[in-house]
């Protein structure tokens, strides 16, 4: 007697988080459709790190793949969380901004090109300080220019999460996809504890960190769009669906009056329970033009 072999789904699942930036980016693109631009063999490294005794990386921690997703022209730009916590330096920022600008140019010339940003980053690379900060400002400008033509889809998977100035870049995106392990916030808990005291934020309280910045919370309160398990195929499927859906009718970052009202309505006399925001804010923001009957 022979028994059929059943392989549990969790064994077949390919973890997205365990992949490095390059493999993550590749996993999202149509197979065989992509080429890497200014990859490690081009050796365009940071000019600032070696003189500070820090080993650079050949691609400066930014991977750019040009190709197709769901048959549509796409560029995927991935920050390597394993190198300097994915922080933005002069070169990595320039690669990202340039790729976005070229996607805009192609879109203006009739070849609509979407951008997918894999943001595993702590923000500005302090060893490049002002050039890192300006690079983020330039990336934000480039996102807004492209967004007039094509969606900019941000994926935050963990384990670094998306913090610092790059959280503003995420905030400007057309769609944000997060895993439960991922976190999204402007200031990390250590920085808040350092600047405002341990009463304000105990950075050793992991439950608190995820309750506020975690993927489940951000999606449930409506400031990110999808919660997806750490599964490369599932993440790729969601990215494809956003590419196909195209631009939302209104971007979340354009809804100033809505959010201004929400902030006005907050009781600031005490800390805010994140769970209450799931009820009061949840599910009322980005609506895709083509998604009928689904309010997100």
């Amino acid at each position: 007697m022979s028994y059929p072999t059943v392989i549990p789904e969790f064994v077949l699942r390919q973890s997205f988080i365990e992949l490095d930036a390059r493999a993550r980016a590749q996993s999202l693109m149509d197979p065989g459709s992509w080429r890497e631009l200014v990859g490690p063999f081009d050796r365009i490294e940071s000019p600032w790190l070696p003189e500070q005794g820090i080993a650079p990386q050949f691609d400066d921690g930014c991977v750019v793949l040009k190709g197709a997703i769901a048959g549509k022209a796409a560029v995927v730009i991935a920050l390597e969380g394993g190198f300097q916590a994915g922080s933005m330096g002069e070169v990595s920022g320039a690669k990202m901004a340039a790729a976005l600008d070229l996607a805009t140019r192609d879109s203006q010339n009739g070849k609509t090109t979407v951008a997918v940003l894999l943001l595993e980053t702590g923000g500005v690379r302090l060893q490049e300080a002002n050039l890192g900060l300006n690079a983020i400002a330039e990336v934000m400008a480039s996102i807004l220019a492209l967004r007039q033509h094509a969606p900019v889809i941000t994926v935050i998977a963990g384990t670094v999460g998306c913090f610092g100035g790059m959280a503003l870049a995420a905030g400007l995106s057309s769609y944000i996809v997060m895993t439960p392990e991922a976190r999204l916030g402007l200031n990390g808990p250590e920085v808040i504890e350092q600047e405002s005291g341990i009463e304000e934020f105990d950075s050793s309280d992991r439950a608190l960190i995820w309750a506020i910045n975690g993927g489940e919370q951000r999606v449930a309160m409506g400031v990110a769009d999808e919660l997806v398990l750490d599964d490369a195929q599932k993440i790729a499927a969601i990215v494809r669906s956003h590419v196909e859906a195209g631009l939302p009718a209104v971007h979340r970052s354009q809804q100033v009056d809505l959010y201004r009202e929400r902030i006005r309505a907050l009781d600031t006399s005490r800390q805010i329970d994140p769970l209450t925001l799931r009820e009061t804010w949840g599910g009322k923001t980005t609506v895709s033009k083509t998604r009928k009957g689904v309010t997100r």
């Binding site: 820090i54 080993a55 190198f83």
Partner: protein, 98 residues
């Protein structure tokens, strides 16, 4: 920061592929391995951990005692152990010789 260079004139077997392995995290390194343009193998290492040039030479000598590909090897290192270095080199060779 240290820049280290080693040459292996007897590693002359022509190869055609190139490989990139690794991420420059703390205690880790990345390596580029590609066909050399000089006819024999040479190695360039950029490392943030100073004072280990003899250790690097020992690893490279051991690597090229088993491998004869005419490769150019470039490494960015942030403190990988000799064991990790050898592992990365072997991963790169797997791609080159596949």
């Amino acid at each position: 920061m240290e820049q280290l260079k080693f040459e292996y004139p007897s590693a002359k077997r022509h190869v055609t592929k190139k490989a990139h392995v690794g991420v420059v995290g703390s205690g880790d390194m990345e390596v580029l391995m590609q066909p050399t343009e000089t006819g024999s193998a040479y190695v360039s290492i950029q490392t943030s951990v100073n004072g280990f040039s003899s250790s690097w030479k020992a690893v490279m000598d051991r690597f090229f005692s088993k491998y004869d590909g005419a490769v150019r090897i470039d490494i960015n290192d942030a403190g990988a152990t000799p064991g990790s270095v050898m592992l990365r080199l072997e991963q790169a060779v797997e791609v080159i010789e596949s």
